[in-house]
Symmetry: C2
């Protein structure tokens, strides 16, 4: 969590989605997103893939687009949209960096491999779902 | 390569993109795609990320959409479009299954890990690029 926030914060082309046109990061917005991000990590590990989960996937998707990005947190001065290419590229860092944390729980190496594989599969599935509101009619 | 073709061939919802409305796979089309798929694996491992590479990424993207899917191989009776969600989901199997082949070359375990990581990063990047023709104006 802190690793990922550090990663976003250290890249100007990423932090700007949390910042005003003048470049000042909106700390209140960052904090609220951080709480949802923590929740998302736990949900990814624990939640069953039911209709409620699917509905919330759609909500997450919309909150990355101009349909809902700033509305939830009243962060009206930040950019209104996260480009889809960034959302897809996110599969890599969020998967490559999680392994060290999965390895900290005292599980056997092959269990850690299986958890990492399940994480990778779930993140890929979620990003596929999140692409829906970005996609042209009939192309999703 | 054969593993992936077997994977596609064993799933009716995947093989149908190579098949006529009656369900008969188009073997000529499958063979031509197989040759390009082989080329793509080598390109992913070897090619520098230059303008020519980027232009060909766009061509690959278009060949999954109604803009160009069947045109190249004259496979007019097969579905004209691969849904974006399938293209994104493809990151997982194509990455999870490559490792066993990377491990066959006699490299040390940490070298295999690095090659696998580079493969994963490249495939994710390419899928992000391939999403462009699917995406609404201004949302990519």
């Amino acid at each position: 969590m802190n690793l990922w926030y550090g990663f976003v914060g250290s890249h100007p082309h990423l932090i700007r989605y949390f910042a005003s046109p003048g470049g000042e990061p909106n700390t209140g917005y960052l904090e609220r997103v951080r709480e949802r991000f923590k929740r998302w990590i736990l949900d990814t590990c624990r939640r069953p893939y039911d209709q409620q989960w699917l509905d919330y996937q759609q909500e997450i998707a919309l909150r990355h687009t101009r349909a809902k990005k700033n509305q939830t947190d009243g962060a009206e001065e930040t950019p209104e949209h996260i480009p889809l290419r960034y959302v897809i590229a996110f599969v890599y860092p969020i998967t490559a960096t999680i392994k060290q944390f999965l390895a900290k729980g005292g599980h056997a190496t092959d269990e850690v491999e299986k958890m990492h594989d399940a994480w990778f599969k779930s993140v890929t599935l979620q990003v596929a779902l999140w692409s829906q509101p970005y996609t042209k009619e009939g192309d999703f």
